[in-house]
């Protein structure tokens, strides 16, 4: 018997009747197929479709009812959309679109169904086994604190003075959520780490770092939360991440060495890449985001990467890119999956070493923070200099001979927590914005760090996240700004999501642009 694994999600209605018929007739259904009966093909989200691949499936079939015969009306259309988008992401990941198929069958079409199944299995065998191995755990050389007591001690949470400055500044608390960093710290110290409320709070934390900024005892609350999440995950007590855990699944899939992502395939031709360059551009996950969020948000975060490389080209640098670039692992680490984060980090270390690069430039604040600090923290030493694109731009602009066209509108800025707070690089984007804003910047974002965009690491999105986003957008609009400049693709996604609120109409809509794009639009040689 072959060891191919093919998951068949089979709608309860049309196709399942056809499938039953095959079983009644004792037809030879290929052994590789494992059937999972589902209520409707429309209920299988992108996250569920992908989960099968993460767990090592070589192919996935979704069977539904013919368009127009769906018992619930919209199931077929939803399944079409989910399958199309997941297939696109499979192509970006280098798994290949052919591993996922959506087909519709009516009850009497058993023969057609059988032929299709046999054909699909043969097709999968032609492509070969999936390069993804079911992701497991990694128990070697562990030095990290494991129990709540150890975690508390490692971050010296005992030094909390119970002053409450954290809670009074916490954006979640300010949005009205019954959430308090101080209370979380106290509860865990008091041995209540395993209660439902504390688990929920640890999951809800935005890890934006405002509390750490305010804490007179310098308790690094985000780091504390990061370790607590790892503790919960190991004990299988984590809460489900946002978006069905799709992104975490995808990142876990990327820990398989055989997977060869093809994520640069849509790069425009006029962008110059040089395979022998000592400078490597690390893109990040933007292309995947764009497919996943396309229908609702129409975002284009890939343009951040394109504009960054164009800016490097503008300064006569033709960078290399990792052909099979993987995720840096930020979201896995921050949602508690340290094991798979470390696996990813090791693969990235190997790929970066093999590229011969001496410097890695990235435009993603999460990649920057992760490659610069987290890898080192977990014992993975990258043999390269890590540079944020803003640092590079600042250095080049300072050399002179370039000018900026003014943007002709007032500008607001949205800080990225990983860049501005974690790495103290808040002045850098403001300095760059000043070049094209020329004084016309909204006062509140010029003066101090702006509030969180509402989420991080795809965890804990709720109505309070939404409230924060609404508040932030209102603030930006009320300042008279015509454009909100961002520094992180996720800030764009989260804020755009809030803008899409149908009940509020155009009340929150405003133009958003990443800083690199704004610079690419305005910079010129003088």
């Amino acid at each position: 018997m072959s060891d191919y694994k093919i998951i068949l999600f089979c709608c309860n209605w049309g196709p399942h009747a056809a499938f039953l018929n095959l079983q009644d007739r004792r037809e030879e259904i290929p052994n590789e197929i494992k059937m999972v009966r589902i209520p409707c093909s429309g209920r299988i989200t992108k996250a569920l479709l992908f989960k099968a691949f993460e767990m090592g499936a070589d192919g996935v079939i979704l069977l539904g009812c013919e368009s127009g015969s769906c018992r619930y009306g919209s199931g077929t259309a939803t399944a079409m959309k989910n399958t199309t988008e997941t297939r696109e992401i499979l192509a970006l990941l280098g798994l290949g679109e052919r591993r996922l198929r959506l087909e519709n069958f009516l009850p009497h079409q058993s023969d057609e169904l059988l032929a299709f199944l046999k054909g699909f299995v043969a097709g999968i065998k032609e492509i070969g086994k999936s390069p993804i191995f079911a992701t497991g755990s990694l128990w070697e050389d562990r030095k990290e604190p494991e129990t709540p007591e150890e975690i508390i001690a490692a971050h010296d949470v005992y030094s909390c003075q119970d002053c409450g400055k954290c809670t009074s500044a916490c954006p979640l608390a300010l949005a009205g959520k019954p959430f308090s960093p101080r209370a979380v710290a106290n509860d865990i110290i008091a041995g209540r780490a395993d209660t439902k409320e504390v688990i929920a709070s640890v999951n809800a934390c935005l890890t934006c770092g405002v509390c750490y900024e305010r804490c007179p005892s310098a308790v690094n609350f985000p780091e504390f939360i990061k370790d607590m999440r790892a503790y919960y995950r190991r004990r299988n007590m984590t809460t489900e991440p946002a978006h069905g855990g799709f992104f975490q699944s995808m990142m876990r899939a990327m820990t398989s060495e055989g997977l060869k992502p093809d994520r640069w395939k849509n790069l425009p031709e006029n962008i110059k890449i040089n395979k022998n360059s000592k400078i490597l551009f690390f893109g990040g996950c933007a292309p995947y985001f764009d497919v996943f969020f396309r229908v609702y948000l129409k975002i284009n975060t890939s343009s951040i990467l394109e504009d960054s490389i164009k800016l490097l080209n503008f300064f006569d640098i033709e960078p290399n890119v990792l052909e099979k670039e993987r995720c840096c692992g930020h979201d896995l680490l921050w949602s508690g999956d340290r094991d798979n984060f470390i696996k990813l980090a090791r693969l990235n270390l190997k790929a970066i070493e093999e590229s011969g690069a001496e410097e890695v430039i990235t435009a993603c604040p999460e990649c920057y923070h992760t490659l610069l600090n987290e890898y080192k923290h977990y014992g993975i030493e990258l043999p390269v200099k890590i540079t944020h694109i803003h640092e590079f731009l600042d250095k080049e602009v300072e050399k002179g001979a370039v000018g900026f066209k003014p943007l002709e509108t007032r500008v607001s800025f949205q800080d990225s927590c990983r860049q501005s707070r974690f790495n103290n690089l808040a002045d850098l984007p403001r300095k760059l914005i000043e070049k094209f804003a020329q004084g016309n910047i909204d006062e509140s974002s010029a003066r101090s760090l702006t509030n969180c965009c509402g989420n991080s690491a795809w965890t804990g999105c709720d109505s309070f996240s939404k409230a924060m986003q609404v508040q932030r957008l209102k603030q930006a609009r009320n300042s008279g700004s015509g454009i909100l400049i961002t520094a992180c693709p996720k800030c764009q996604i989260h804020l755009r999501c809030a803008m899409e609120d149908a009940l509020r109409g155009d009340e929150l809509k405003m133009e958003m642009m990443d800083l690199t794009t704004a610079i690419a639009k305005t910079i010129y040689w003088e």
Binding site: N270, G400, A401, V402, A520, K521, W525
Partner: protein, 190 residues
């Protein structure tokens, strides 16, 4: 090969020192011949100051310069005095905040004094200008210019002076790059 360089400015800007560094770099570092003449004209009574440096790969028979190949102006007065004898081949370099070019002549501009102020030491404008001169004209090589700078300044200030030199050098590279981009017709992000 012979390059005739005149550097002009106010007394106190370090014009003579700049000339000395350029000449020494050429002679000691690049193993060429060089000569230097400080201005002894009436302008040295009026605050103006200039230095004439000749660099050649053969013996220099006459150290005075009538028509310069390279003219560096760090003050308006210096420019005004020489502007009429400039030929089309002369490379004109100015401190853009101190000199206004009135004739129809191509020139390279750098805010050297402003840069020096930003770096916290106004008197380094001359070193920035040497970096710019070396970058634009290649009259002296990068290594020997830096080497001579570090040997000519007080030992405590070597590091910051080398930084100042780099500032000028990098500005020169950026300026040249900008000219190349303009020539190719692409000044924005493609």
């Amino acid at each position: 090969m012979q390059k005739k360089i005149i550097i002009t400015g106010f007394g106190g800007q370090g014009v003579i020192m700049a000339g000395r560094i350029v000449g020494m770099a050429a002679a000691l570092g690049d193993k060429l011949e060089s000569s230097l003449v400080q201005s002894y004209g009436p302008e040295s009574r009026g605050g103006a100051c200039s230095v004439q440096v000749t660099i050649a790969d053969r013996q220099i028979y006459y150290p005075y310069i009538n028509v310069p190949d390279i003219l560096v102006c760090m003050s308006q007065g210096g420019y005004d005095k020489y502007k009429d004898i400039l030929t089309g081949d002369t490379i004109l370099m100015i401190d853009q905040d101190l000199v206004r070019v009135s004739a129809d002549h191509d020139f390279y501009a750098i805010p050297s004094t402003r840069f020096a102020e930003e770096m916290g030491l106004k008197m380094m404008a001359n070193i920035i200008m040497i970096g710019f001169l070396a970058g634009i004209t290649e009259a002296v090589s990068l290594d020997s210019a830096k080497d001579t700078v570090s040997k000519s300044v007080p030992s405590k200030t070597i590091e910051i002076n080398l930084k100042a030199f780099d500032r000028g050098w990098e500005f020169a590279q950026a300026t040249l790059k900008s000219r190349r981009k303009k020539a190719s017709g692409n000044t924005g992000v493609v």
